[in-house]
Symmetry: C2
Subunit: 321 residues, 2 copies
Amino acid sequence: VADAPESRSRRVALDAMGGDDAPASTVAGALRARADGVEVVLVGDAQRLSAALVRAGQPDALEIVHAGEVIAMDDDPALALRSKRDASIRVAADLVASGDAGALVSAGSTGATLAASLFAFGRIRGVRRPAVAAVIPTAGGPGAEVILVDAGGTSDVQPEALVTYAHMGSAYARVRGVTSPRVGLVNVGEEPGKGNALAKAAFELLSEVEGFIGNVEPAVVLGGDVDVAVTDGFTGNVLLKTVEVLRHDPEDPGAGAAVLLGCTGTVLVAHGAATPQELAAALRTARDAAAGNLATRIAERLAAMDDTGGDGGTDEEDTSG
Amino acid sequence: VADAPESRSRRVALDAMGGDDAPASTVAGALRARADGVEVVLVGDAQRLSAALVRAGQPDALEIVHAGEVIAMDDDPALALRSKRDASIRVAADLVASGDAGALVSAGSTGATLAASLFAFGRIRGVRRPAVAAVIPTAGGPGAEVILVDAGGTSDVQPEALVTYAHMGSAYARVRGVTSPRVGLVNVGEEPGKGNALAKAAFELLSEVEGFIGNVEPAVVLGGDVDVAVTDGFTGNVLLKTVEVLRHDPEDPGAGAAVLLGCTGTVLVAHGAATPQELAAALRTARDAAAGNLATRIAERLAAMDDTGGDGGTDEEDTSG
């Protein structure tokens, strides 16, 4: 994992063609983020992006990198990625691979974003499949948050994967300023031995992980007494979406975007329906994660874990979503 | 499945010793329910229950059936049930078995309540294990609600179980006044083929079920566009508890209690921390479910389904929780 030189690594490549209302929403989000000091590179149809900037009254505010194709939400990610060599998500991922940007943000297809990232700069050693990390505000006070991993990446996993999620989530929590992250296993009860077969097996393995505090019910996850909550991508996605339905708050720092943990680069996926405000927040989060060398931190942590037995990630299953 | 004679079947047996603050909370809840016209029978330590009624200023308001023992929350349900023959939950379940009451409510151990119910009056034919049905208010307008099955009964199940849940949930929805219940499968996306292995397999089987509308994300579950949402007990419990954390509303008709579907009697389990108001709501729900002949409706529906292939419930696994 090589971090890009300081100046370029501060830039965030935005797939400006991804999202329900792109490029209007993405350009508006990028302009907001720029006002907050984030250097954004717009990737997509140069003519349309220029026109959107003109309409916004800021024709020269942002750098544009042209990409002539777009991967649609209903395209097969792996197929589309191969056939559309000039797709915006692919060109944006290449900017990160070449070090011309430090992070990637897309509100397009999560599958295509993951596939493009894996294709352009690959996975961290020890990671079988990247996981989605969602940052959810908690009742633990101002700024308090919990990182939910996996919030929607892989539905069926082995217990070992949750150990990787714990390490990756901890590394992310540290980058976000938590000194000694507490890690919990999402479960239906607090006592050891609770839950389904996956949770029971994962509990045993997680007991060896630094900072593991045991099973956590939703009240604890959302109550501020844990920093990282790990679960399979099915349960995590149901939990995340339930929270989003009941507590949609445009001021949420993490609303509308999640980090893909396990790529050798910083990648954020935003909702297709993300607002300019949410996209701006995602761009800030991406900038900060890259500045904190998130991928390097995860790689270091998993390398240390590998010495004591990792999840033995292989090179299979590279591109799907 | 025999429904008790009308007069006695209207009575609800309350395990007055179950719950964090029992018997104070249970007696207070029973008195509230009585004010709403529910005939409650208090089951538990007669001396303590009489004293609680005296303290409430209504010494003769409720019938008491004595039971000298209590099953604690941390007791093993099956073991405790066998050794404590005079446990309040057991005596209360026996009242339903003998037809002296039409329904059972307990805020004690769910496992013990399930075990006592199975021991006293058993399962409906075609049901491998009873499921927990939680009624959750939705955004579908005043009184709109969704029945979530399984909301916490069995964590690891076969896809066939979700078909049984769909039929039981539909029967319950009809008892609650829904003419043509819409049934959805809780999932992380709406398209067929989404989800984990269980959801994918269940989707195929559910396609044959009357009223099945497909996959439903949390936004649909809570949005009022489905009447019954089926899932495994692990996912369902995480979803339910997340809703409870974020939307605790003492006016919720279903808050604090859930029905055990699949017993040949009407059984409600309430939270250990249920308030008197919530216990009163649970007692009303129990009265109404019994009056609607819930168990008979479920048995009829599963019998009809059995002709076309049920989940082949066996007589194993009778008592655990």
